[in-house]
Symmetry: C2
Subunit: 337 residues, 2 copies
């Protein structure tokens, strides 16, 4: 008899998640009701936002219940079905969990995908998933960059950040990326075509501030912010009049016991600038538009998409923690089967 191995949340993490917060546990295979189908998960997307779902704070999604498997976007193959349109063998993608098998429901969020339409089926978790759509709509719709603008991207070597910078280049911006370590910085300019890279390691707020100023003496028009803390503060100190900050994430604060907060908000007054929070869910009705454009740019070789795939459910935690250590090179994905 097959068991369903599940990466369960056993305790809400305090600060950085540790092994004792989770357990890989076996459960019987779920039974299907009418309108349901069984998904054999092949890949799970690992995203910084999942850290928020592990806490019990009110957010845009309910917390993951204790004892339940960790929520994640997955792609897999339908193995059994009592739902019309979801035949055995069909590839699907949906918001499920880190587990061998998930149950999809007709009319739910799980959608069929075509593996032959993309270079790799995992692209549905990177370029054609939340990551690609966040970069595309977050930059173009929320930040409204114009040709000639200076665009500053933090978390620039990450899955979203690397796409944001490349899209900024396509749109005619001068792009500055902030990342951790010389290797990542080299990747930003050599591989992703950023104009400049700033290594935040070993730099305090004043040094970050100075590094941005040296590259953008007249200030930046757009910030795509993934990090928060000192990095956001340094960006706030280098705004041009009317600058737009798209707030995508605050990864430096997710594991912090007491976040430092943004101490340079007064610069928004000085420069009549704005910070706007963005969430990809708002753009779901326009995902097809984003997919067409992103796919075209990728096919033309103007957009490089990197994926970092770790293997095995028993590697779920170390793979997830790469996002916070910064040891992933590209969109973090866990191969389950």
């Amino acid at each position: 008899m097959t068991t369903n191995r599940q990466f369960n949340l056993k305790r809400r993490p305090e600060g950085a998640p540790v092994a004792d917060d989770f357990a890989l546990e076996g459960a019987p295979l779920p039974k299907l009701a009418d309108g349901q189908f069984l998904i054999r998960n092949h890949y799970a997307s690992l995203d910084p936002a999942m850290r928020g779902w592990m806490s019990d704070a009110d957010s845009y999604m309910p917390p993951i219940p204790l004892g339940a498997p960790v929520r994640a976007s997955t792609i897999g193959i339908v193995e059994d079905s009592r739902a019309e349109g979801f035949a055995k063998g069909q590839w699907v993608m949906g918001l499920n969990a880190i587990e061998d098998y998930s149950v999809g429901t007709l009319g739910g969020f799980t959608q069929p995908i075509d593996p032959d339409a993309v270079p790799s089926v995992t692209n549905y978790l990177s370029l054609f998933g939340a990551v690609g759509m966040t970069a595309y709509f977050g930059l173009l719709d929320v930040c409204e960059p114009k040709a000639g603008d200076v665009l500053l991207v933090s978390g620039a070597a990450g899955a979203v950040g690397s796409l944001v910078g490349q899209i900024g280049k396509i749109k005619g911006c001068t792009v500055i990326g902030i990342a951790g370590g010389a290797e990542k910085c080299a990747r930003l300019t050599a591989r992703y075509g950023f104009d400049h890279a700033i290594d935040y390691r070993g730099k305090d707020r004043a040094a970050l501030d100075a590094a941005i100023r040296a590259l953008a003496p007249d200030g930046v028009d757009v910030i795509f912010e993934n990090v928060g803390g000192d990095i956001l503060d340094a960006g706030l100190n280098n705004l041009r009049h009317g600058a737009r900050i798209g707030l995508c994430g605050l990864i430096s604060e997710y594991n912090a016991p007491g976040p430092v907060g943004a101490r340079n908000l007064w610069q928004l007054i000085v420069h009549r600038a704005s910070i706007r929070g963005l969430l990809v869910a708002d753009f779901v009705p326009r995902f097809a538009e984003g997919a067409v454009q992103l796919g075209a740019w990728a096919a033309e070789g103007r957009l490089i998409v990197d994926e970092h795939i770790d293997e095995g459910l028993d590697n779920a935690l170390p793979a997830f923690m790469r996002l916070f250590e910064g040891s992933n090179q590209g969109k973090m994905i866990l191969k389950i089967a």
Copy 2:
């Protein structure tokens, strides 16, 4: 021979300004060049923003030079003139300094005003000055409140805040004000017509958060922020989807050696909300429009404008410090002559 007493900045304040940072000093009356006129200052506007001008940080205006009189909006009477259009006896208003006499220049910022057009000539420093225009354009243009919106105003008993709340009521909002002390809170509801008042004294971040939630269980649509720190953080915790925060000031941080910063910016992501910095200077070309509307509302009795006038150049510092102690009741003005 007349001397010009000047309230000079002698040292840049660290934290709260103290007496030794300033000196009231006499200088000879300035000589006029062609195109200049001599203003006998009667009233000076005292505003929180002046604290920023006393520091040496880059801002939207250059720092006040050490040894120079403290920059302020003043109104006064032309006493001598070598400038066409500025005859002796003409009332004028401009960005001058806290001193007996200032020099105006043709084509500069000093403009004639008509004392007979207003209930009190000091209204040019309150309702028809930066305070009134900040409230009017800051609320209506930057925050775009709609009828039925819940509007949260911090620093609500202050000159700008009290007008913002009243304009919000005129526009059909439910208005919640945050102020310090029972007396001010009573003034908000009884005198300015706010729907609710929250006394921030003795409340930590969690208690502020709970107080807002109790009055606005579905969250707030608009925040007009004058204060920052814990008060902004509590507001951020109570946003409705798509909320707009107009950032007018951060008075709690101006004298703080290490500002605490905004630690709840992640709520902008959760609620797809925005913070936008606002400065009244952007609306100068539309001041006439604002003045007509504000004047009409005041004449109809729908807008109450309070002024707190302290007297004498030797009271400049204690009068200014009322803004930070919260002991003023209305727009803070110093009567010079």
